[in-house]
């Protein structure tokens, strides 16, 4: 009998409580969504497993000892992984559409309006100003930027905000179209845009160099993200370091995604996640996406008042990052109004500009609040 008692006490069952079981259910739901529904599986699956691990009674997140704590501490708290993800994104991104039509940069800026609307919404719901900034940046639809900002301003919000950001990114095709249709007329959705000019290799090489100089001079706090982003893009466009470029796009990106996902999931033990604030974050996250979409479209309408060659306001909605999903949605909604209207490449301009815009918005938050 004593032997059995000894065995029982050495096991971890006594350390479980109902909250852990709820978190298991949430983790398994995420596993289901990733595997069965294909919702951002590359990130949702590692995040889900991180949630499961941290809600098992173990020392895996014990500061200074636990394995996942080390991933989290050196990867995210030290803000190393998000810039490495940006290196890979830079190496994967073709800035041709932005260079061919630089006006679309403004649409990438316009969509950041949603970030600030949500920022005030979060303040109104009782979040402190640092937490409100991190919740607001969800509207930028950029997971690594959300994690980067959370690591600097509100680490306790990192897991929740990362899951909200990635969940809503997967839901872009569901969230955006109703807002887009509400804010545009059929005639506006039918506006056809001129084909983009061909962009030379030298222009593409100049772009990352100019971008990193301009952004770092104006917003030094965005240097880590934008520096890596532009370096990745320069590797791609230079054409002389294909091995490095491909490594950044594939192997490195995959490796850091594993560490990012599992350690972000590990920031969600039941006692942190099961609070009423989480519901607030998810509501505000959807508000952020809707407002960012609306602000992008609104700015496109405003620009059309001054432009000779009108732009299709739908491409303004692609100013939220979520590359290339938001651009595809803009194209799809446009082609529903006019089957021969090809908006995809036009929408890629504001889409990649949105990545820059969100990183700059995060840098601006840091410069004021840190």
């Amino acid at each position: 009998m004593e032997l059995l008692q000894g065995m029982w006490t050495s096991m971890a069952f006594d350390n479980l409580y109902w909250g852990n079981l709820v978190m298991w259910a949430i983790a398994l739901t995420f596993v289901y969504l990733a595997i069965k529904k294909g919702f951002e599986p590359l990130l949702l699956l590692p995040i889900a497993f991180g949630i499961l691990l941290v809600n098992l009674p173990s020392e895996i997140m014990t500061p200074g000892e636990g394995l996942l704590w080390r991933f989290y501490h050196y990867g995210e708290e030290w803000a190393i992984i998000p810039p490495l993800i940006f290196l890979g994104i830079g190496a994967m991104t073709d800035f041709g559409p932005v260079i061919a039509n630089p006006k679309t940069l403004l649409l990438g800026a316009g969509a950041q309006g949603g970030v600030y609307v949500t920022f005030f919404g979060a303040l109104a719901l009782g979040f402190n100003i640092d937490q409100a900034a991190v919740i607001g940046i969800i509207g930028g639809a950029d997971g690594p930027t959300t994690i980067f900002l959370a690591s600097k301003l509100a680490p306790e919000m990192m897991g929740i905000c990362a899951v909200a950001a990635y969940s809503y990114m997967a839901l872009v095709p569901v969230i955006q179209p109703p807002v887009m249709k509400l804010l545009t007329t059929e005639a506006q959705r039918k506006i056809r845009m001129k084909s983009l000019r061909k962009v030379s290799k030298l222009e593409k090489i100049f772009f990352p160099i100019i971008t990193v100089i301009v952004i770092t001079l104006v917003v030094p706090d965005a240097a880590a993200l934008m520096g890596m982003f532009c370096f990745g893009n320069l590797m791609r466009e230079s054409g002389v370091v294909d091995r490095l470029s491909l490594t950044a796009q594939n192997e490195l990106m995959n490796i850091v995604t594993i560490f990012l996902g599992i350690s972000v999931g590990a920031t969600m033990p039941a006692e942190v996640f099961l609070t009423t604030k989480v519901i607030g974050v998810f509501i505000l996250g959807s508000v952020a996406f809707c407002c960012a979409t609306a602000c992008g479209i609104g700015l496109a309408h405003l620009m059309n008042l001054f432009l000779k060659e009108k732009i299709n306001p739908l491409i303004g909605a692609a100013g939220v990052s979520a590359v290339p999903m938001a651009a595809r949605v803009a194209h799809k909604v446009g082609s529903e109004a006019d089957k021969k209207n090809y908006l995809l490449m036009h929408a890629m301009g504001p889409n990649v500009a949105g990545v820059i815009g969100t990183a700059v918005a995060a840098g601006m938050f840091l410069s004021v609040l840190k």
Binding site: F206, I356, V360
Partner: protein, 45 residues
């Protein structure tokens, strides 16, 4: 002015300032790149 308002005004103006500055610089760099390429083409021919 409250910190929230300062954050908002500096943030939104910062984003637009960066993008406008970037827009101008990209237009200028494109002109420079095209001019350099034309010059090179002439030299080669």
């Amino acid at each position: 002015m409250s910190l929230a308002l300062t954050t908002f005004i500096s943030g939104i103006s910062g984003v637009f300032l960066v993008m406008t500055f970037l827009l101008i610089m990209i237009k200028l760099s494109s002109k420079l790149a095209i001019a350099l390429e034309k010059k090179q083409e002439k030299q080669e021919s």
